[in-house]
């Protein structure tokens, strides 16, 4: 594998950093998935075992973790659609940069819809 002295940097800017973010969020989501399937499998052990473990997801700290998880998923989903548009539209590559800003706009809108509701559920007086 070729290596360069002093490391390598791709061309930077929106194209590279969206690629980095896609990779990092995908990596994180995959490991959550491994944990999530395993914790859900506890329904085969007993109702008590499942409730005990899922109860730890309902604490404030994990509630903030879920914010991070949803943020990672929402970015990965919207940026994934952008990648497909870049690949399949004739003019896709020309608009990759503006499409990233659309992705980030949709990300903000989606999180603005999710956050108040979720934080009220986690931190509200139940």
């Amino acid at each position: 594998m070729p290596t360069a002295q002093g490391g390598t940097l791709y061309r930077g800017r929106e194209g590279m950093w969206s690629w980095v973010a896609h990779r990092v969020t995908g990596f994180a989501i995959f490991f959550f998935l491994l944990v999530h399937v395993t914790d859900t499998a506890l329904v085969r052990v007993s109702p008590e075992a499942y409730n005990a473990v899922i109860g730890t997801y309902q604490t404030p700290i994990m509630g903030l973790g879920e914010v991070g998880l949803v943020a990672a998923i929402v970015f990965h989903a919207f940026n994934g659609i952008r990648i497909m548009l870049v690949d399949f539209l004739a003019n896709g590559p020309r608009y990759q940069r503006v499409m990233l800003w659309i992705v980030l706009g949709l990300f903000v809108v989606t999180m603005a819809g999710f956050l108040p509701r979720h934080l009220m559920n986690v931190f509200g007086g139940h």
Binding site: R44, P47, Y50, I54, I73, A77, N121, V122, H126
Partner: protein
């Protein structure tokens, strides 16, 4: 061999010999197949479906009602007593695991430079894939929403009805 059966001059395929003058160019067949192309297509096809499946999953489990606070054994029992959610979750499990495993395979290929490191990491990855997919599939299809002898307080309402 293959060259002769495809009607191209066998002599051009033999290693260490010169092509006959003005013989047509015969492109060497790759021995790798189109695996990476199919993997590229799969990432996009599964990605589109996963956007719908995962967003639906997150909406129903985190946004409706009391969100994450409402999730317990009875909640899962209520969902998986319906074939609709069983198929939904099964599809999501398989697509997400293949999509994610293929993504991690790419990451490992990019960054693990030594053959042994790459082999070990991918071995672990495929082991994790197999365990999680088999476990998840079994759970979805062998799940009992109203286990005998369980505390009725912890079960879905239809168990005691």
């Amino acid at each position: 061999m293959s060259g002769a059966t495809h009607g191209t001059p066998a002599v051009a395929e033999r290693v260490g010999t010169l092509d006959a003058p003005r013989s047509p160019y015969v492109r060497k067949r790759t021995t790798r197949g189109n695996y990476e192309l199919y993997s590229w297509v799969f990432m996009r096809a599964s990605g589109v479906v996963l956007v719908v499946l995962v967003f639906g999953h997150l909406f129903v489990n985190l946004m409706v009602g009391e969100g994450v606070k409402a999730i317990d054994f009875a909640f899962v029992g209520g969902k998986w007593s319906s074939p609709f959610w069983q198929i939904w979750d099964l599809l999501m499990l398989w697509l997400a695991m293949i999509h994610g495993t293929n993504g991690l395979r790419t990451i490992i290929n990019d960054y693990a430079e030594r053959d042994v490191t790459r082999g070990v990491l991918k071995g672990l990855l495929y082991l994790a894939f197999t365990i999680v997919v088999v476990l998840g599939t079994l759970v979805i299809f062998t799940f009992e929403p109203c286990p005998v002898g369980a505390d009725p307080e912890l079960l879905a309402s239809f168990c005691t009805a």
